[in-house]
Symmetry: C2
Subunit: 693 residues, 2 copies
């Protein structure tokens, strides 16, 4: 079954070369090698694939890669940013000013940063399925599978000494345990200024042509010495050209392509618009807060950026889902599967009413959405901590299998770490989030709703939020540790106002989550798994699973596309364009749109040193999604040609529906990285190390 | 009444500065000076306006302007192109290689090129309206007005010795005679290579960011000496910046913004899709023909380019009309006018049923469209000549007022000129057009339709087209003159196969045109005029008339917009971006997409001479449409800051519905013209003349 391309009027009109892009985020155990060979005449061997697998790293929030024999690791600047922030000091703002270690001895150890290498993956589907008792309801089956997977994971970790992560593929069609080697000593080597890394800010985010030097370099150490990785991806000496086939390995986060038509319609008509309204409300509140002082502006800017990032992505997804004919391919696929199920008595017995049951779950989802979305902590770190602390003793009193997920044996340690780490919190920002959440609850659930009554207790949202913030000590890690270690008695003794609010929230949050699991999630998991089974039986394992933040391989050529602005995108940008966009907005003097296209002074002073024709960013037809940030892009030789950092606006509908005409990933060209290190960033020695084969 | 802006999610999301763009293509007799003063604090005086009026020229197919005291005229390269072609020779391809006169003595006289300056404009509405007899039907009224206007024009031309053109404003709400001084000695001074003038070809056409050096320079001579114009627009010495207010004067061709909702729906649902299908069919046929030989490829490329240009414009218009909420402003305006008409007995009597009558005309239009569109000459020059020749004696036998429009006294001379000029015709291309037209008629009207039967006579479309081409002599201007001068006898004696085909076409074409005039055009003209009258009475003359290829003034600031690709467009581009786009497509070596982004060698050799940060193109919120090509853009001082050459893809819906968020015109910056003349085009002396105040 092949997804049909959306209409391509412009491309056809222009008589453009046939659009070439390739669908699929494939697991390494199930690569479409025959199709790859047929289309491109290339068949990677086992060693090629192993090198790519071991050379790719799981970096917190994205992907990274080993790129030198001495353990240099590359990822995006935006993936490494919070870690760069962590080693910044009042005197040295490494985000703003960039950083280049003067030599290996000057590399900065980043406390808490851990990266992981996938070593092996085991299919445990049979064991997990066997754990479901006969006659279990959908909700019971979900719990049984979760507990089985949890137990298998613990056993495997104890046996191997490696980090194990459970992985659910094909909507529950397969269960796996992925084993990782974890590296705990990671040091910052070099990073450009954020203004060059994210040139154009949120305006240019998700767009192309683009000029983002979005990389940062770290090094893995082992026993205080540079680590020599089993495999690394050397910077290529072969110039990448339009049409060249590329591969990307990384950790795409989540897609919904195997969802049913009913689920996609729900996303388009209900869930995404709901979320966009919430984000719009939050943005308005954050902006108003930011307008109250220079300091408020400073501390709110990251939150506003994050909101804008989400809004832009969701708006582009919505635009993709709203395109004429967007659902045609989904309908065709669903129709084919329905026909196959109807024609096979065994499949019919197992999955014949799965669509109807999913329809029912979606109807429940729609009904439950406001409570499920609003009986929450609204992104307030303080309220989140308070809720976790409130629950800890009660959860620990239960057997692991009955606990909420944060408190099960496999995740408990991480939860405890999170509770006691020393992340900076700005209480006044939390107050904005809590107030906004309460306002939304009041508006959507109504003043008579028990949750609203409990949380507000007759006060306005602003007053209730202020009361929770005023006098709370939850922002103090030492206080949180005291509460965590003091157990129920310490909690009971505390009248911290944030804990008081969390106690009110707790029962509502538990209840709406339970309803969601029973009536929505359980059904979707069980019936989704049955449809996946049916798909395997009907069509073989010819499809890739939806993205799950685990290692995947995609491939596709460097290729143009017809843009929403009416032209063909150029395959590469160059440094010339960086300075064009800078000057076209009036340069640093104009600092237009809040300075989005300004450049740090050394990038202006050293402009003449650069070979301005050096490729900067490029687009390529690999299938990616958020989580692929920092993924290495390699050529046929498996050599590093660039680092993925984004995908284009017009193709964001690809979260649900793949469209070869618009699905293009965006990468920083390896040549731009070397040129920048050498000519501007005073990092000749790093460039030399990267250039060593 | 203010048009409501379409939704601006991105701009709002980005927290962009308020979108500023200004609606209106105003006639010089009715400028919104108060609004201009209120919004921008600027009020041009009579001398300022007169200078702009006299400095602006009507250039065939567009607009031009006097830009030096010695009669230098600037227009777009694409407007001047056919004239540059005309002075090219086999040895000197001035389109491909560009041209710079070595000095005034080397300027090339362009035979046939005439430009016109608007000297005066007279309102003759009262006289025209008085010519309509009481109780006339809509069709009769239309004819009476046309004849009155024709007679007034002749009388005015004889009285003044100036060229007079009748102008219908406000859908027939006003009738005017515009008087022009005509300049008949125009010489080519300088033009860049077409590849730099139209860098990016059809792909970049109608888009932005853009790097088109789309200008050419001519000089008007009078009695063999450079003409010293009454007024000219000197190149400014003030650097133009984002936010600066600009003005554009020129000849926007046609808009349909005052059409009724029913008319716009008809365009969206019927007329534009119909035309797009015709163009797609023609493009396919031309491309197939072009594939038959290198020569066929060469001679068909201009036709394919023209088809692509039309298709892209219509597709973008359709996308504008298809936007969610696109018709809201139209509905609001129509609702307000309906309410005003209903509330006033006099208006109600006159225009109360105008909408219903227009609805009826639109229904007729829909019914008649296939015959009206297909009983035609399909763009075949040969068939067109043959049809005109066939009709000439019969039409001349009638009084002027009863003739078809090409044969009336005011236009007859031009028709005769056209018949006998020596334009090159490629018969095999005409054969493609005739065959394609016949195929479309066969498919849409059916084999039993009398027109299809008459034209095909039992043959296939290909055979019928071949028969008309084989042996025809109509491509020979001398033969056409012989037929023209020989009268009915010469025509009767000829069995030229193209004449034979034209004789078959003639009665069908006459009949479908007559039906169209009676049932569609007459009603739309009469009822449109009544609605215009009602609008004047209800709201005063606060609105501008739809574009009519006559002189208009628009204003608006240099301003960004939120693009269809998800970002904000940079107000200016620079030479840096020209070379970025060149290199990003792989340069001349790759010659990607048929070489759309290649550059002539001297532009590469002399790149280092250029100040690459010089502004190249810019966008600004003036209201324009096709016909504004070549229009001068001036600053508050009335000085030339750039030459308009396009408007952006996202705003093409502005043909029908103005949207301040996306309506942006694109101009070549005056500084790019001077920099190019000086550094690359060996035209220092021209740049010096342009820099003289």
């Amino acid at each position: 079954m092949h997804l049909r391309a959306a209409l391509l009027p412009l491309a056809l009109l222009l008589g453009a070369s046939p659009v070439r892009a390739d669908e699929g985020m494939w697991t390494f155990d199930n690569l479409p090698l025959a199709a790859l060979k047929a289309k491109y005449g290339f068949e990677p061997d086992a060693a090629w694939l192993k090198r790519l697998q071991l050379g790719t790293l799981k970096f917190p929030g994205g992907t990274g890669a080993f790129v030198s024999a001495d353990g240099l690791v590359i990822t995006n600047h935006h993936v490494g940013r919070s870690w760069i922030q962590q080693v910044s000091t009042g005197k040295a703002d490494l985000i703003r000013d960039g950083f280049t270690a003067p030599g290996r001895a000057g590399e900065l150890k980043v406390p808490g940063l851990e990266v992981m290498m996938l070593v092996a993956a085991d299919d445990v589907t049979a064991q997990v399925d066997a754990a479901v008792p006969a006659g279990a309801s959908d909700g019971e089956a979900l719990k049984a599978r979760r507990n089985a997977l949890s137990a298998l994971r613990l056993a495997r970790e104890q046996a191997t000494g490696l980090v194990c992560e459970p992985v659910v593929l094909y909507q529950g069609g397969e269960y796996w345990l992925y084993r990782y080697r974890k590296f705990r000593d990671v040091r910052l080597v070099a990073a450009p200024e954020v203004q060059v890394a994210s040139f154009g800010g949120d305006a240019d985010n998700y767009t192309y042509p683009r000029w983002n030097l979005d990389f940062s370099l770290f090094r893995v150490y082992d026993q205080d010495r540079p680590y020599h990785p089993e495999a690394f991806l050397p910077f290529t000496a072969q110039p990448l050209r339009a049409g060249d086939l590329t591969f990307i390995s990384g950790h795409p986060g989540m897609t919904g392509r195997k969802e049913t038509l009913a689920q996609m319609r729900y996303m388009r008509e209900v869930a995404i618009p709901f979320r966009l309204r919430t984000l719009a409300r939050l943005r308005k509140a954050l902006t108003a807060y930011g307008g109250t002082s220079a300091e408020a502006r400073r501390v709110s800017s990251d939150s506003i950026y994050a909101v804008d990032n989400s809004r832009k992505r969701l708006e582009a997804q919505l635009a993709g889902l709203a395109k004429a004919g967007a659902f045609e391919s989904v309908e065709a696929q669903e129709g084919a599967l329905k026909a196959a199920v109807a024609a096979d008595p065994e499949l019919k017995a197992r999955a014949g009413d799965s669509w109807a049951r999913i329809d029912g779950a979606v109807a429940e989802e729609r009904r439950l959405l406001p409570e499920y979305a609003l009986e929450e902590t609204w992104g307030s770190a303080l309220l989140g901590f308070a809720l976790t602390l409130t629950r800890l003793p009660a959860e620990l009193a239960k057997p692991s299998s009955l606990r909420l997920s944060d408190f099960k044996e496999g995740t408990l340690a991480a939860t405890r770490d999170r509770l006691t780490n020393s992340r900076t919190i700005v209480p006044s920002l939390d107050a904005v989030r809590i107030r906004t959440g309460l306002e939304e609850a009041l508006e959507l659930l109504g003043p008579a709703h028990p949750f609203v009554q409990a949380m507000l207790g007759g006060r306005t949202p602003a007053d209730a939020a202020q009361a929770a913030i005023a006098g709370t000590r939850i922002q103090d890690p030492a206080y949180r540790r005291e509460l965590m270690e003091g157990g129920q008695a310490a909690l009971d003794a505390s009248q911290d106002p944030m804990l008081v609010l969390a106690r009110k929230l707790d029962p509502f949050n538990r209840a709406s989550r339970r309803q969601w699991e029973d009536r929505v999630q359980g059904v979707l998991a069980e019936q989704g798994a049955r449809l996946a089974e049916a798909r395997f039986k009907a069509f073989g394992k010819s499809q890739y699973p939806d993205a799950t933040s685990t290692l995947r391989l995609s491939f596709g050529p460097v290729a143009t596309y017809a843009t929403g602005s009416g032209t063909l995108a150029q395959p590469f940008t160059t440094f010339l364009g960086l300075y064009d966009r800078h000057a076209g907005w009036g340069g640093n003097a104009a600092a237009a749109e809040g300075g989005l296209w300004t450049l740090p002074q050394r990038w202006l002073d050293r402009q003449d040193r650069l070979d301005l024709r050096t490729p900067f960013n490029f687009i390529y037809g690999c299938d990616t999604v958020g989580g692929n940030s920092g993924s290495p892009v390699v050529n046929l030789r498996g050599e590093f040609v660039g680092i993925n950092f984004d995908s284009v606006y017009e193709g964001q509908g690809g979260y649900y529906i793949y469209d070869p005409a618009t699905k293009r990933a965006v990468a920083v060209d390896a040549r731009a990285i070397l040129e920048s290190l050498r000519k501007v960033m005073d990092a000749q020695w790093v460039a030399d190390e990267l250039s060593r084969p």
